[in-house]
Amino acid sequence: MAKRVEDFTIKRNRYLNNDLFILELAGNKYLPELKPGQFVQVRIEGSPETFLRRPISIHDVDYENNTIKLLIQIAGKGTEALSKLKTGDILNIIYPLGNSFSLPFEQSSVLLVGGGCGVAPLLFLGNYLKSKGHDPEILLGFRNSGRIVEYDEYIKIGSVYLTTEDGSKGEKGFVTDHPVLKEHHFDHVYCCGPESMMKAIADYCLKKGITCEVSLENLMACGFGVCLCCVVNTVKGNLCTCIDGPVFNIKELKW
């Protein structure tokens, strides 16, 4: 898929809470086919402190309306600037970037595991899997009930299991504490979230012999395999998260 540099127009900037928001962007040209797990590199204009683009995973795609959604957490000056975008503003992006999650075998039981803002690519993935005839289950972990994002969207895809660290909604604890991991059988797990969570899920999958793919979020400058800054150590040596990832099978990673 050819990569593009294009101006998109902000259709909507919707706040989910104080520091999480969803940007809905409309393309001026028809969108190419995008794949779950891919990301965009967002240009932030106007400040010398946000010199580089910011990699943001694709949260959802609407081909009919020619829009993509980005779920973003304010984590620094770049994402803070993005949070202030308004309807009609222009956002320049490079896309589509990165590989994508692989499709599971037919009839396999699939679990999506997400934590915090890391749930972002799982909505696109869940909808995609559903359109391909799969029936994924979804396990999501958040700090507390106020941090739960897009629950109404995930529940449309399949069964959703929740954990919160303070027990204010769902099971108390981390995703790895949820009984569904013991009670249900899974063939394929897709995971995105904080590194500690992904490592814990990877351990669980390795022990159970479950195929597991994780989506990484390394610091990068370019996003298309040139700067070599976003490397992750793998059985094949240092690979770029931006072109060889962001999705990796856990058996490849030397964590």
Binding site: A2, K3, R4, V5, R43, P48, E49, T50, F51, L52, R53, I94, N218, L219, M220, A221, C222, F224, G225, V226, C227, L228, C229, C230, V231, V232, N233, G237, N238
Partner: protein, 303 residues
């Protein structure tokens, strides 16, 4: 029509816009974005004799108007290059230049000999200025005797156009430029990155795995421009200006200060089409100002 062709060591460049090593991969990464054959030249990712894994992550930190990196010359080595990369670059109608690096003088000699045999590579950029490797790299480029030794040794075995890339991390860059000229290099490119560092106050650790790294981007431009001006006034061989160029206006500053060509580096990370935009901007500037040849503005402030 404005003439923007320049000649470096007898090698013709259709225009003075070259992409900098380490910021342009092997070219193919930009095929989706630009027509590479429009560029004056491209300088490929730094190559060593042996494959190198580079430095541990994290390798990058954003800084005001720039970035620090500590990639550490990750590359697959010259064997892989000859076998798999070299055949792919033949389609580009531009000067494809290899940037060579080593830990020992012998490495540079062996690499120069190998690259000398590659018909499609008309020039090498001798990198004696990488700040992110434990051995070699900048160590050659910040000591006058070892700089002389490595340039002399490479010149002896390399018959095509030799460009020496200088480190700014020295007291007097003119000394090193003169050494390069005396030892027969055809051109000097400068500057490589400035040694810098950054600390993450959340984790209370250095931002880079190697603590220090190379600073690039517009933050270094005034320093680069000053050094290019000093060197252009001190040597007779053509100078290639590098350092924080993100627009045609920036490039023109370097021409006026004495650079015969420029390299676009970090800017390509942010806008992969920037090299072509800079070229178009240079053409427009020259046309608007009524110049017929870029040579008319090279070193204009020094006349």
């Amino acid at each position: 029509m404005v003439n923007v062709g320049v000649s470096i060591g007898g090698l013709k460049f259709k225009n003075p816009v070259i992409t900098a090593s380490g910021t342009f991969g092997y070219g193919s990464e930009f095929d989706d974005f630009i027509d590479i054959s429009r560029l004056g030249g491209i300088i490929l990712k730094g190559t060593t004799i042996e494959p190198r894994e580079g430095n541990p992550y994290p390798r990058m930190a954003e800084t005001p108007s720039g970035m620090l990196n500590t990639v550490g010359l990750q590359n697959k080595g010259i064997d892989y290059f000859e076998k798999y990369i070299y055949p792919k670059i033949s389609g580009y109608e531009t000067n494809v230049i290899v940037n060579i690096n080593g830990s020992y003088v012998e490495d540079y000699i062996a690499l120069a000999e190998r690259v000398n045999k590659l018909d499609r590579i008309p020039a090498i950029e001798l990198n004696i200025s990488c700040p992110n490797v434990k051995m070699g790299g900048m160590a050659f480029g910040t000591n006058a005797d070892s700089a002389r030794e490595v340039i002399k040794a490479v010149r002896r075995v390399y018959s095509k156009v030799l460009i020496v890339k200088l480190s700014p991390n020295v007291t007097n860059i003119v000394d090193f430029a003169r050494i390069a000229e005396e030892e027969g290099s055809d051109s000097i490119s400068l500057i490589n990155t400035l040694l810098g560092m950054s600390v993450d106050i959340k984790t209370m650790k250095p931002a880079l795995s190697t603590i220090t790294g190379g600073l690039s981007g517009p933050a270094v431009r005034p320093v680069a421009l000053r050094m290019v001006w000093q060197v252009a006034n001190a040597v007779r061989i053509p100078v290639i200006g590098i350092g924080g160029i993100i627009s045609a206006n920036d490039a023109i500053e370097f021409f006026l200060a004495g650079a015969s060509a420029i390299q676009v580096g970090t800017a390509s990370f942010i806008d992969p089409q920037i090299s072509i935009k800079i070229l178009d901007g240079i053409l427009k500037y020259l046309t608007d100002k009524g110049f017929s040849d870029i040579k008319e503005i090279i070193g204009l402030i020094n006349r």
